[in-house]
Amino acid sequence: MSVPLSRSYGSDFLLTMATIAQNTSSLLYSLRQRGVALLPFTLALFIFLWYSLVWAGDLRAFILPTPDLVLSRFVEAAGDGSLLRHTMVTLSEVLGGLVLGVSVATLLGYLLAKSQTLERLLSPYIVASQSIPTVAIAPLLVIWFGPGLTSKVLICALIVFFPILINTIVGVRAVPADLHDLMRSLKATRWQTFWLLEVPAALPVFLGGLRIGATLAVIGAVVGEFVGADRGLGFLINVGRGEYDTALVFVAVFTLMFMAMGLYGLVVLLEWRLLGWQRRESQETINY
């Protein structure tokens, strides 16, 4: 007989947030899955519409450059090495922020999931901290930590923190009580229970959070660079804007987009490798 555990009401909000996040990401997948076969056509259509917009509106290059202008600006920026340099700066901010944010959030999430008391104590503060837009505290971080790498890494970490935290909590809480009983009846050590039960059982939800986090980290880096930086793709956008070099802005924007997509793809690849046992069950979400 299972005895109903008293659930803390504080976690309801967190659960709702996570559900919304999950639903949004699974919606993205099904859209993407259906769109894949049509990709060449939609891409051609997109470029055609872009040209038509420029011609029909007789737009100047500093308002909306044509795709070929963006392409040649890309070749130029890639050729003199400046694009790669700025990309590497932003990428290291993003990766640093991911590593920091994910490790702190996972650790804290695990502790909160295991301790009702700790969760009741901390969750009001965590929710409150999330209602402050990261953009608003970015200037503070730049003031405190300077315009270098540190402040950007911190901003990325802050933005990544919440989805990872929530998904870790939800994932660890969702481990079936019966499997915990099984491990107890087999006299598993704490470490064995963690490694052989909690990690694999929580992994699907955790990786769902990582998908969201990976793309958010790119946003974090750009926000940081907008506030104060002398290098990076966000900085490049600012430069392009200041010099009416709109093609350069587009080059930076597309590079950021590919960076975010690449990171997202890496997480999907990770899921593919680690969650093979789920593949058939949830083909709809992973198969593409």
């Binding site: 007989m1 019966d178 009846s185 087999l186 006299k187």
Partner: protein, 258 residues
């Protein structure tokens, strides 16, 4: 058959705290079980059968009373006691043989021995060739066979089963009962099995303990003197029906008059 007690429960009481004071589930339950006996615990649903089993498994400390296994007071889950859960309770990310091997892995048995022992058990429960299949691709009956193999791989002295066939359809349940008897005749473990199925209890058990409604007491302790090996046909004999009737009366199934 050797009847030196392997399991003894004395004055077991369990009370769960809830909003209106406490839920008294078990009320001073005492019994002894001899080695290699097959005992079924029967009772109306919600009577605390599963709670009793969790206490015997050391997963739940009784509010009062004591459980002794081979003369040793129980303080928590113990070696030599294996549990089969209500649903198969397999790890969905592990294949059939990996699930069966889990107890050995936790004990640090080397991979070669573990593979040999789990291989034997896969054959015994009739799942040869399904080694690398994931639980999601198994039927309910097959999953429960894996769960039984996972319990037997520990080579336990005492096997605790919590309505192992409760979630299966009637036909599969009867089949699994037969299979269980076959396995039991090979391994001869002491078995305590919780069930709400009277016919299953008579067919399988040497002895049936009937629990009352909450708070549960033992209202009948009945020896089932039906010779073994028991064939499927034994279900249709008058003596079988007589045991079933006695158990039905003890449970106090509400009379329905038309």
């Amino acid at each position: 058959m050797n009847h030196s007690p392997i399991l003894s429960a004395s004055q077991l009481s369990t009370t769960f705290q809830n909003s209106n004071g406490g839920l008294h589930v078990l009320d001073k339950i005492s019994f002894e079980i001899g080695a290699q006996q097959f005992v079924c615990v029967l009772g109306p649903s919600g009577s605390g059968k599963s709670t009793l089993l969790r206490v015997l498994a050391g997963l739940l400390a009784p509010s009062q009373g004591e459980v002794k296994i081979k003369g040793q007071a129980l303080t928590g889950p113990q070696n030599g006691v294996a549990m089969v859960f209500q649903n198969a309770n397999l790890m969905p990310w592990r294949s059939v043989c990996q699930n069966i091997r889990l107890p050995l892995e936790l004990d640090g048995v080397n991979a070669k021995d573990a593979a040999a022992r789990s291989g034997e058990l896969i054959e015994l429960v009739g799942l040869g060739g399904f080694d690398d299949v994931l639980p999601q691709d198994l039927s309910g009956g097959m999953a429960q066979r894996v769960a039984i193999a996972r319990a037997l791989v520990q080579d336990p002295d005492l096997l605790l089963m919590d309505e192992p066939f409760g979630s299966l359809d009637a036909i599969t349940r009867d089949q699994m009962g037969g299979e269980l008897l076959k396995i039991w005749s090979v391994h001869n473990k002491t078995v305590v099995m919780v069930t709400h199925d009277i016919n299953e209890a008579v067919y399988l058990a040497d002895r049936v303990l009937v629990l009352s409604d909450r708070p549960a007491k033992i209202v009948l302790d009945l020896d089932i003197d039906v010779p073994r090996p028991r064939k499927e046909q034994v279900r249709y004999t008058p003596e079988f029906g007589e045991f079933a009737r006695q158990l039905r009366e003890a449970i106090g199934g509400r009379e329905i008059s038309i």
